[in-house]
Symmetry: C2
Subunit: 145 residues, 2 copies
């Protein structure tokens, strides 16, 4: 989703477009291929707009999540990671354990999963299919060392 579209969505939802928010959106956009922490977002935001504060970052992340514009997960230590949602059609991700880069792929065995849950009278709400490993760039770097 383009930044302009994100700004429009916030505005339409009745939120003010403060400098802190514009800066956060632009940073999120910049990192749209990577899962990042709130702290990393803050650091980047401060480059545009030094006054930005971690509290504000968190508050706006919560807000974006509420608008379903932001995807939140947690790393193995329980720390939260964020990324703008993908607006394209259904797909899943490969996440690099080294640099956090996220690559997408279209495959999803949803049909099969539906059959399984029906067989168990399990009301399927969500499914999560994610691959973890080392992306080609990081793998190259490791081999060079």
């Amino acid at each position: 989703m383009k930044i302009h579209e994100l700004e429009k969505r916030m505005k339409e939802a009745g939120f003010k477009l403060t400098n802190q928010r514009l800066s956060l959106l632009s940073v999120l956009d910049k990192f749209s291929e990577t899962m990042v922490t709130a702290e990393e977002l803050l650091t980047e935001c401060q480059k545009d707009y030094p006054a930005t504060n971690i509290t504000t970052v968190y508050r706006n992340l919560i807000l974006l999540e509420g608008l379903r514009l932001l995807h939140k997960t947690s790393d193995s230590k329980g720390k939260s990671l964020y990324k703008l949602v993908c607006s394209d059609e259904h797909h899943h991700h490969m996440v690099c354990l080294d640099c956090g880069k996220v690559e997408s792929f279209d495959f999803c065995p949803l049909e099969e999963l539906r059959k399984i849950t029906e067989r168990n009278n399990f009301r399927l709400v969500e499914h999560n299919l994610e691959l973890y490993g080392v992306c080609s760039e990081c793998d190259k770097k490791i081999n060079e060392e």
Copy 2:
């Protein structure tokens, strides 16, 4: 895995079988079908052995994780959830969002996933396929209300 086997593994790894540990193993075994928090484990442990302490629970959970006997994830709020690893062959889980119950299924599209990662020069380390929803019992309960 049977409790006795777990105890054996700990002992073999050079750890002492304290009452706190025995009590934790038995509680984990009791909850082997459910993801539970450290707090819930403590509460149960204290029924057997009232002196048990949250610090000890955490320390032993870390230890069991290190022995690869324990599986750790986090819920949507980042709180950690634990469960003994399954010793049976490769499978995935459906997790009830209501009661935490975990059911297993054998299906896994690993072949397909391998093809995808190879195509992307992505070195696959781990994959996660998990279904979330409402289990048949909870669904029944909800409908009764």
